[in-house]
Symmetry: C2
Subunit: 553 residues, 2 copies
């Protein structure tokens, strides 16, 4: 059954999470890419918009990319597609909703309609280069999510996708247990499985639980209901629509990403609503509170989102008042806790009732918990297992679970982005590393902001800048004007004239004493940096960036 | 019993939390200050070290500060003391450990030994101006924490301090229920109570639970044990010492704040250990792993802490290895989640086992949960209730709890920092606001970094700076040299020569075309800003700060 070649599996890119944004499968010159996602910048990546995987390795001629397969339509799985397609040309495979969301991303970035999108249905099998890829349905926080069974000449690789086992999914489409069982009965070489919730015991509750809570809240409260949720959580949006509909409330959709997703999902038939259920914001505002539901963005406290604007009374259409009930149907993504808390505080300040938090029942995770992760391994019964989709500690926990369900030490492989896992003749091992990591995107610049620029931004952020300008006579090297000191972000200049005057005097004295020729730029700059740096540190205990500039006239 | 004057209660300062860092009680010219704490800067307060309460109101002659009373030795209750004492002169009252920790803070800031510290014991009653202040014991994450019963001419004010009801505290000293009951039998005008855990159902477990878990881990693991905890959690440190001692392990203490606190607590008799239990790091490193415990800082993932250094292999003395067991005996303070996660990931990368998280039993909160908050109100039975110590949402929840246990709508008062609560003739109401809020400390500067400097830091952090220098002939207004463009934190200059050359050319063209006299600084600067800003935005989609500088020669 297995050929003689070597299959290489390489997780790429990402911030913290391993194999989340992209994985490459390579076999004899054919490269299959699974997902093309972006990550959001870490706190220290000042000014960076997004982070995409480094694909140097793909471009360096180790093979030809035969296709890109998308497992689902979340930003961290499709968001880097425009950048990837800018650099290479390959067909993109995915389910209709995933492709619909991916297409919107590509269009947003101005990459033209020349992309070769190839829709597939769960259950379908397509040939991509030397790979046969089967798409099987799994449950997740966005509809139309799939896992993959990739039949390679070296054996079968199963990729779980982002998954949970929801026994009562909103769309009635359970995970394709039968396909997983069938794969488990044949011989699976390798399972790559989602580690996101490897720290969480038990089973993740069904999305339907949220629907029941939302219904109960809408039924018992007399006020206007606002629901903030991830725009991509189409099932949850469906449950809001269903509850509103059955209780005689109308729904308005607020916030650009929410409106876009609702439009795409409606158009592709993933969201269903009677024609008069959804109304405009203006109409909604004219309705009695008890007949109104607002579905909006802002569940992560994003400062420009609809909900954050409402919370500070700055939304153009919706003004909150006591009696309003705001449901935060999401948990904060790590790093967003303070923004979410601030929004909640501000909502309370407006007199709204706010329903949020783990005990409220208005959110469940889209990822399987520990028992589901074990079940996935037991169903698939792979020869090798690589935990993916998680930060390092999640992979450690997931690897421990794999050993708990009976996998031997040598069967669990473990690496980071850039690690090459090689499989040949049915045997797997770690075979070195390839250039990997993250490319920082800032505005139109992709990868041009590196460590020097970031280090400068850090210093500027902390203590600002102090510019010292000196004009020198080109013919003699004498000082003609200056030093003029200008600061930004260091001290408030209007209140610090004295400090800056004294600092300039200190520079002047040293220049005179040392009798420096101002044409010797490097010597002068280093003296200015040292004198000014010491002077202001002594006086303020701050270390602004010192930027000496010499103009020759 | 009540006099005719008006008692005013004013929460001051803080970031987010209300009445946490400082509360002023004013009665006819006498001002009593409860706590003098600092807050840590919010993410957007770039470069700020700490945030202290604005005490303009105290300095503006509305009365004389007759004393400062400290409830316990945490940073957010004592950290602003050096700044406060710099501005005003008053005796400072507190229990011995609290004063020991406060004195260290004052010494650290170089404020001399002239502070009038007055130690009190729980149960003691002291006269401070027109107030009689009784100190009563409560349980919290630092020993020697007290609540206050303040007998004012207008009635009794009870301040809960930071508290929980621990039935089996490590030092055997339970909260003074009898004093609370006695107060409840007399007539309490006002209760101010800790809202930190108002979102948390049930009761907070006893600190002793953590001791049992720590003991079990040390007993069953063969490796070296590292425990990271808040330095001030002396009870937890005691439990580490006790467990180590009874299992034949030695303990070394690593990290400056941990060493300092252990020294102070030992000296004052709050921490007990047989003479040979604590050893130096060097000695510890020579011991077999099974006999070694390392007590260290870094439970919040602080990048310079002992644990963070160890996690990346950069600690001078301790190098981690497989077999080591690291216990993170704390939960992340909101905002620190990502730092803590990163440290845990790195510890796993070194091969250590890491024990952390809510299910691990290695941390309990120092604040009472909802049932304890209700019990406090039921014990004290105040006429008025003000929730304090919490962000706005916590106060909302705490106020709801007060109503649940029977307080009427008018009995629950509710405000923010700066709100004046006035009580006279047994009646309470909100009586306006005073200047309040936060003072930002950056290096030696207290309050000099305001919105202008912060706004500049934000722009610099996001997109850096582009300086344009022009030299002008003073006599004619002609351009003599430049424009020279220098950037920092915007683009990497070495890779962007072309961009900057073109940008300079664009500026030059406009200056020529508009025939500007360079002595007209404001016109020239505004043209340069506009032309450069537009040029670089079009080319990079970034908005660096544009800083035009004209030198006249």
């Amino acid at each position: 059954m297995t050929a003689t070649g070597t299959l290489r599996v390489v997780p790429l890119g990402g911030v913290g999470e391993i194999g989340k944004n992209m994985i490459a499968l390579c076999y004899e010159g054919d490269i299959l890419i699974i997902d093309a996602g972006l990550a959001f910048p870490e706190e220290e990546m000042l000014g960076i918009d997004v982070v995409i995987p480094d694909i140097t390795f793909l471009k360096e001629g180790s093979g030809k990319v035969v296709g890109v397969v998308l497992t689902h339509g979340h930003e961290d799985h499709i968001g880097a597609l425009p950048y990837l397609l800018h650099d290479l040309d390959a067909p993109v495979f995915g389910t209709p909703l995933t492709l619909g969301l991916a297409e919107a991303k590509v269009r947003e970035k101005g990459e033209s309609g020349s992309v070769d999108f190839r829709p597939v249905r769960p259950g379908q099998r397509v040939e991509i280069g030397c790979f046969q890829v089967e798409f099987f349905r799994v449950n997740h926080a966005v509809p139309d999510t799939v896992g993959l069974a990739i039949h390679s000449p070296a054996g079968i690789v199963v990729h779980s996708g982002d998954f949970k086992f929801d026994q009562t999914p909103v769309d009635g489409q359970v995970t394709d247990y039968h396909k997983l069982a069938e794969l488990g009965r044949s011989e699976v070489l390798l399972l790559l499985s989602d580690s996101t919730n490897a720290e969480r015991p038990g089973y993740t509750p069904s999305e339907r639980v949220v629907g029941e809570t939302l219904y109960e809240i809408m039924r018992t409260k007399r006020g206007r209901i606002l629901v903030a949720s991830f725009a991509s959580n189409v099932h949850r949006i469906q449950q809001v629509l269903d509850a509103a509909c059955s209780l005689g409330r109308k729904v308005c959709v607020v916030g650009r990403s929410m409106q876009d997703t609702v439009a795409i999902a409606m158009q592709l038939g993933y969201l269903h609503a009677p024609p008069d259920l959804i109304v405009s914001v203006e109409e909604a505002c004219r309705l009695p509170a008890a007949q109104c539901v607002v579905l909006c963005t802002g569940s992560q406290g994003e400062p420009l989102s609809a909900l954050a604007r409402m919370s500070v009374g700055e939304h153009r259409a919706i003004s909150l008042a006591p009696g309003d009930v705001v449901i935060i149907a999401a948990t904060p993504v790590p790093g967003n806790e303070k923004l979410v808390h601030r929004t909640i505080d501000n909502l309370f300040r407006r007199g709204a009732e706010v329903i949020y938090g783990p005990e409220s029942g208005v959110h469940v995770s889209g990822h399987g918990s520990r028992e589901e992760l074990k079940m996935m391994i037991n169903l698939v019964r792979p020869r090798y297992f690589i935990p993916i989709h998680g930060e390092y500690r999640h992979l450690v926990h997931h690897a421990a679970l794999a050993r708990e369900v009976g996998l031997g030490e040598g069967q669990v492989l473990f690496g980071e982005n850039g690690t090459v896992f090689a499989f040949s003749q049915g045997h797997g091992r770690i075979a070195g590393r390839v250039p990997s990591g993250q490319v920082l995107v800032d505005g139109l610049g992709v990868g041009d902001v590196g460590s020097v620029v970031l280090r400068d931004r850090h210093q500027l952020a902390r203590d600002g800048i102090l510019v010292a300008v000196l004009a020198a006579r080109a013919s003699t090297g004498e000082l003609v004007a200056g030093p003029d000191l200008i600061s930004r972000g260091f001290v408030y200049m209007r209140q610090s004239e004295e400090l800056l005057t004294e600092a300039a005097r200190a520079v002047l004295e040293v220049l005179k004493r040392e009798e420096l020729d101002l044409r010797d730029w490097s010597a002068v700059k280093s003296v200015v940096r040292e004198v000014l740096g010491r002077f202001v540190y002594e006086r303020t205990r701050r270390r602004p960036m010192i930027l000496p500039i010499i103009v020759e006239v």
